[in-house]
Symmetry: C2
Amino acid sequence: MTQKLASHSEDFSAWYNEIVQKADLADYSPVRGCMVIKPYGYELWEAVKHGLDRRFKETGHVNAYFPLLIPLSFLEKESEHVEGFSPQLAVVTHGGGKELEEPLVVRPTSETIIGHMYAQWVQSYRDLPVLINQWANVVRWELRTRLFLRTMEFLWQEGHTVHATYEEAEEETLRILGLYKDFAEDDAAIPVVSGRKSESEKFPGALTSYSIEAMMGDKRALQAGTSHNLGQNFAKAFEVTFLDENNETQYCWGTSWGVSTRMVGAIIMVHGDEQGLRMPPVVAPIQVVVVPIYRGDDEKSLVLASVAQLTAELKDAGVRVHLDQREEYTPGWKFNDWEMRGVPLRIEVGPREVAEGKLTCARRDAPRGKGKSAVLRTEVTKEVGRLLAEIQQSLYDQALAFRDSNVKEPSDYEELKEIVQDGWAYTWWCGGTQCEQKIQEETTATSRCIPLEQEGGEGPCIYCGERSTERVYFARAY
Amino acid sequence: MTQKLASHSEDFSAWYNEIVQKADLADYSPVRGCMVIKPYGYELWEAVKHGLDRRFKETGHVNAYFPLLIPLSFLEKESEHVEGFSPQLAVVTHGGGKELEEPLVVRPTSETIIGHMYAQWVQSYRDLPVLINQWANVVRWELRTRLFLRTMEFLWQEGHTVHATYEEAEEETLRILGLYKDFAEDDAAIPVVSGRKSESEKFPGALTSYSIEAMMGDKRALQAGTSHNLGQNFAKAFEVTFLDENNETQYCWGTSWGVSTRMVGAIIMVHGDEQGLRMPPVVAPIQVVVVPIYRGDDEKSLVLASVAQLTAELKDAGVRVHLDQREEYTPGWKFNDWEMRGVPLRIEVGPREVAEGKLTCARRDAPRGKGKSAVLRTEVTKEVGRLLAEIQQSLYDQALAFRDSNVKEPSDYEELKEIVQDGWAYTWWCGGTQCEQKIQEETTATSRCIPLEQEGGEGPCIYCGERSTERVYFARAY
């Protein structure tokens, strides 16, 4: 476990694949394209769930659960939707030993079956809005997969709401985008850009799609969450109507939005370094690891008694603390191991620490060998809280500085080509699908999003030179 | 919504089907046999999850996630297992537009794929025990389905552990059975019998199966949780081995255990009455509903200001409280509605209550029209806490008294036949599969479990008269 990792700076892709397995976050499964989420990775996902679920509930959303299996005919009711998802479907043709009359698809997303139910549940304007979220697994047949980033089956939340007006649906779509940004920045310490997707990048069946985009450690972009204004497309396909206050029948306006186990991949790729993972304290499965150091039985009993009390004290204070009492490894080996696993703070306790009433704290966010400090034993709870908050902020600041130094504004198309080889380009774009496709073909970079916050003004499209009023990010992406 | 429910005492089955839909717990789905869990039902399931998950984590278990789709060949590696589950499989034959080389089954349970992974993860005795739980959906093709009780897809937790010895596996199996009993009794207010399943009722592939059994409102039994000692069966099928302290290769000893959305059905069926649901406060999505009562604008502003403050105060105290401000319904209509939905405590606030500094509290566990009391406004937080604890205890006591009065000891087989028409029979049984089958054929009652706590002694088998040393429950079951 302590052999050297692939280099983060030289071969990021190999580094990622290795660290996910070495740190026991996930494993490959015998079913091609599916993954096994191991306990350490699942705890990270639970922290993501917790952070999002809390925000959904605070804004009036409730959870529900809809069936995994969907009649194939349902998908066919919305033409863009079925076109988008058909190539990715897993199809159940047999059940209970018999061939089915109509094949069932394993849900790739649930707009259709939820639309079908909403048509029955919504009658009057009094029933609106419906603000439902679902935590579920979905399956999309993928040929090129990668642990957490793109897997055939993945876990996610999918919110599905219906409203009386376009304005309310648009407001909801943006409210959720705001929650996603909030979670990414405050909990996962990942700075993100919120913006609108281009026509060609939007969700099949949506009116408008929005996303949050984050820069990974190799400067590629990753779409970390999406929120869609579905307009009346699914309402019309599934007859989701209501009687308004004037007793007239209207179609509902819908939204859908999701964050998946990809977010775990983002946390790994944004914060990791040559030594391995670096977990933001708010979502870290283990925030503090305590490593006892001793030689001989006398020191051992002294130190172990001390760390047991320390661990209990931190636990009582609500800190997620782990005491590493393994006897088969040296302290040095453990330091490396927990660094690789990204635990934000390590506390070393030897006989000297016990005698002096001090503890040695080592921060994972600092360069190796730095970031050590002595903390008074009597102050430990307060100091650990302070250090964890500092580490959270420092990881965010590092990621922000990294992103800012790798976003550039090209003065012409040749410069854009260079920039997207190793960063993001922020540039004027006419909004035309043709220019977007040409750029993608010639650079492999895609339009990521048209940020909500624009400086205004106008400029020439980086590709065709037409006058344009919005700027966009182009980047190579996961 | 206020039309009369089917009668709880006269047609329990119709009552159940109606209340599940009327109280917005669940709905039928367009896919035969699948259900939609609506927000109110899902919140109840979240409370079940929370109560169990906490107990698992306190006893050293961790969560993980394994793939939904399992190669068909995996199931075939354990002969009893495949025989048991084959008739119930949903099979994916096509993915990404192509026919698959090997069909994949939608997991009916995960022993096989988890066994496959454990074979790779476990090398040495130092890796043991592995104590993993998974929260997941599973699919079993069922022809006769019923919301929550028996659905094609259901949600559950499935624990899968491996150990170095038989003794440890058996200890774990019984530890979990204890947690299940603890949850059922303390959180769900459902008295249960813990016991061993007969040979014919055990899990396909297990050495020994245990269950908790509860009596529903119609005196039928429901298996509310199971815990299995798998012996080395799956370890042998999947080569899950470890090097012991003497460096010798050994097969691991396994367990698996699960509680599903059936538990929600049990909560409905144990506590419900003629008026509808009765939710135990510990798991109730809404513990307290506040209903304002007023005529005219003056009273309205007075009362609404008062209930807003009351609701905020209870919320701050950690009570799950809901304020029913709907204007289109009368207070009387609301009383019926919340009774039907089973909210444990209702607080009525009118101008008189505001003037006198008192509140009217109505308990759902008391007979209709009784259970009202006046509570001082200044004491409300304390009093609500006390009342909720009393209601929790009272629901448990009522269920226990009901069960105790409907378990009878037959003196001969004729008497057993009568007892199981309307209750449970507790009786000596030789343990023979033949006697068990005859009883089932002649009475439709099945052996539920051989309770762990036995009075000792011996007696004649109720069917064949052979000397036997254990007693068993026979009952008609869900």
